[in-house]
Every structure is written in C-alpha cells, then in structure tokens.
Amino acid sequence: MEERIKNAFQKALEVEDKEIKLTDQFRDYEEWDSLGQLSLIAILDEDFGVEIESDDFNEIITVGDLLKAVQKRS
C-alpha cells in the first residue's frame, strides 16, 4: 500500500522520477497545485475506491497521513 500511495503522488503530479517519502509535507512540493490535488483525488477514487471529504483532506499533512487515511477507509 505504501508503494501504491507514493505512485499515486507521482502520477498525480506527473513526476515519475521524484522520490516520495512518508514524512514529506506534500503541499510543499513545487509541483503541488489545484490540478495536482484534483488528480490525486481522482486516483484515490479510481485506484483505491476511497473518497476523502474536503475537510478531512485539509487535515492530511504528510504522505504518511494520507496512507493512514486511505488504509482506514479501504
């Protein structure tokens, strides 16, 4: 699951070669923008069958937080 979440970020931000770490605060990524966020949400929905409400998403700070949120919901 950890690898899949990291891949989701790479796909959503179109940065296939970027190293993604669980401790990263993903909103600090240079490539993070509203399209990246929409893409990530679409990937979570399609590949993980997980929907995260906007309020909950705002509380997710690191890649590891997202991993936990997805694990909780799937």
Binding site: S34, L35, L38, E46, S54
Partner: protein, 252 residues
C-alpha cells in the same frame, strides 16, 4: 401571453433530482401531463408528489444505460398517455478531471451517460408510433462548458459540446416532421450535482465560481422556465439553437 402546455405529454429524464425535477414541476404547473424518468425510485416518487395532480402523471425508474429497455418504457407510457409532444433530456453526470487522469473508461462512462443515452432515447421517442403527429419539441440540457472552458472540464465539456452538435443536425433532419430540437446551456445551478462538485467544498473556490456569474448562481427554476417556453407552441419557429441560461457567465 401565457405559455401553456395544456394537452401536451412531456417526457423528462433526470426527473429524480435537481434541474430535471424542477422541469417536471414547471411542466405540470403549465398543465402538461409528465412522464418522469430517473433511476432512484424514492426520489422519483418525491418529484411525482410535488406535481400538480400527481395521479395524472407517470413515473418510470430505469437506468438509461440499459439501452435495450428504453423502448418498452416509451411504449408503455404512450399506451397510457397518448403520443409525446416534448422531451427534455436532462439526465447527466459531471466530473472535474485534469487531462493527466483522463482514461478510456472515464471517457466511455461520461459519453454513455451524457450523450449516447440521450440520443438513444430521442431516437426511440421520435418513431412515428410514439411522437405526436403535429410535431414536437426536443430539448437537450447541455452546459456553458459546451462552448467555454475551465481547467478539468475537458471531458464534461466534450460531452456537452457533442449534444449541441447533435441538436443542430437533428433540427435539420426532423424539421420536415415539425420536430424542433434545441439545447439549453446552464451556468452553475445550485443542485445536488453542483453541491458535490469540488468547488463547492471550500468557500474560496465557491466564491470564485460565484464571481463568474454576474447575476449569481442559478436556481433550478431559472432553467425550468425557459424549458417550458421551448416546449410550448409559442417557440414554434425556434429550432437548432443553444440557449444560454447562465446569469451572464458567457457574456464576458
């Protein structure tokens, strides 16, 4: 002049929610007999209960993607009401997807629901056995996204543009039979669909969307009223148009 739909049988898809529900209510208020179509039976019944004289109208819960089942519904309905004078193709789904996450499945889903199901239904209703002999009015609910863009709206806009393109050729093809074909293109209207869109989930993005509409966001009545007009005989010389009902969104 008061527009009346008296004596007319009007079929409305997407009648279980939002804009389609209000179109059904407005048609019944103008004395039409309404045939309601939607998937969710409970919400369809709520629509039926809000119509003038509910016993007069019909409702069918069906998935329009089950293409082969549509004709039996139309046959059953027209057996009860007589032939159809108007169709509002309002059933639809929306999505906001950046190009990088568009794939074949998503394209197929959106096109099946927003375009193919509407054309399939229209094809069936337009058979001489089902459509009124003295002409009819067909409406497709498109969107401002049929002609302008927003980031993430590529796929949705493609389907809505397809409806506008289809309506033009249908208008020409069906004119000899006095069947008029038009689109209505709404801006953002407050409905379950727009409330579940990403921009409604945060006050900033919602304000941005509001600011794109000089007259504010739309109400379902704002779309239902011009629909009644296009369905009425008073719109008898209007075909092949795409009527923007968008609070000024496309005036810029």
């Amino acid at each position: 002049m008061i527009f009346s739909l008296s004596g007319k049988n009007i079929l409305v898809t997407g009648a279980s929610s939002g804009i389609g529900r209000q179109i059904a209510i407005a048609c019944s208020a103008m004395n039409a007999r309404v045939i309601l179509l939607g998937r969710n039976q409970e919400r369809l019944d709520e629509t039926l209960a809000s119509l003038q004289d509910p016993a007069l109208h019909l409702r069918y819960s069906a998935d329009l993607l089950e293409y082969d089942k549509v004709e039996s519904i139309i046959k059953d309905a027209t057996g009860k009401t007589g032939k159809i004078h108007g169709v509002v193709n309002c059933a639809g789904i929306s999505t906001t997807l950046p190009l990088r996450v568009i794939n074949m499945n998503k394209m197929a889903d959106l096109f099946h629901t927003n375009v193919f199901s509407a054309i399939n239904l229209t094809k069936i209703v337009c058979k001489p056995a089902y459509i009124a002999d003295d002409g009819a009015s067909i409406i497709f609910i498109s969107s401002v996204m049929s002609v302008v863009g927003e980031a993430g709206k590529t796929l949705y806009g493609m389907t809505k543009g397809a409806l506008v393109a289809a309506s033009k050729s249908l208008a020409i093809e069906l004119a000899p039979r006095k069947i008029r074909v038009n689109c209505i293109s709404p801006g953002v209207v407050v409905t379950p669909m727009s409330k579940s869109s990403f921009y409604s989930q945060n006050e900033n993005t919602l304000n941005q969307i509001r600011s794109l509409h000089p007259l504010g966001l739309g109400r379902v009545e704002d779309i239902a009223n011009p629909c009644v007009f296009l369905l009425s005989d008073e719109a008898g010389w209007i075909t092949g148009t795409n009527l923007f009902v968008d609070g000024g969104y496309t005036a810029r």
